[in-house]
Amino acid sequence: MDTKTNHIRQLTTAWLALVTLTLLSLGLSEWFRDIRLLPLLVAAIMWIKGAVVARCFIESHVAHPFIKRVLKIFIGIAPIALLATAFFGSTLARWATL
């Protein structure tokens, strides 16, 4: 990783992508309020935004494998849990009942 290179263009592109995805997720929640696949779209956007921050801001692609793994796992957990709750909610509730 060349730390001396000016990465301002890459950072600005990442920021614009994050702003666009944020506004897009609000639009999707309005337009597709009643469709069953809304959680899938929301989970996908959640994962993409986390991956953009990790790659472009934290530079996870050149980081130590442990850091890469921690970020990958954390960014992946919530979208997977959201899909599990949306499509297998009653099963999950049964498993999590004391």
Partner: protein, 199 residues
């Protein structure tokens, strides 16, 4: 003059095994991720048990507040990343300006949160308004606490930067702060859709 042999030269840094910032900060960020993973587990278990309460609850929250906080977090993260980018090129003045901009934007978060809480209370939403709001308050307050530590960190790093504590040869402190703030940003990017988008 001091002679230096090949054996004494430090080994070149492996570009795929870099530790951004320092090890201590990554131990802290890992703990932060573990803490929020537990809190998210509670959220999803509660959501699986009470889907109707979560569907109805999200419609009562201020989407404008949630969106504003998201844009503030994303933008402050971007400014701090730009500050790091500037110090790596020894552009000290630019690094200071970007970091001050990041701090000002970051301060908008607690301000917006205070306004949101006032709005909630005016609309009869408190911690006892139901399972959705209990989970909403503890998750967002915990995140606010972590963001407050980040803001204090920005102040400390800014003070060091003003006294030329960082340069293109040593910027580990600024990079560690940036990593913490980006990690806190990633956590908010999970919280935002869970409470404000999935209505």
């Amino acid at each position: 003059m001091t002679a230096i042999t090949i054996d004494e030269l430090p080994p070149p840094e492996d570009s795929t095994r870099r530790i951004p910032g320092n090890k201590g900060m990554w131990a802290g960020i890992t703990c932060e991720f573990v803490e929020f993973t537990v809190l998210f587990a509670v959220y999803f278990i509660a959501r699986a048990h009470f889907p109707d309460a979560f569907h109805a609850g999200a419609q009562k929250l201020s989407v404008i507040s949630g969106t504003t906080i998201t844009l503030l977090m994303i933008t402050s993260s971007y400014f701090i990343a730009c500050s790091l980018n500037a110090i790596r090129q020894d552009k000290h003045r630019a690094a200071v300006i970007w970091l001050v901009a990041g701090l000002i934007i970051a301060l908008g978060y607690p301000l917006t949160k205070a306004l949101e809480i006032n709005w909630n209370l005016a609309h009869g939403i408190n911690g006892e308004s139901g399972i959705f709001f209990t989970v909403y308050y503890y998750l967002t307050f915990t995140h606010l606490v972590h963001a407050t530590w980040g803001i204090l960190g920005i102040l400390w790093v800014l003070a060091r930067l003003l006294f030329r504590g960082y340069s293109s040869r040593d910027y580990a402190g600024l990079e560690a702060l940036a990593c913490y703030w980006h990690a806190t940003d990633i956590i908010w990017l999970v919280i935002f859709p869970l409470f404000y988008v999935l209505a």
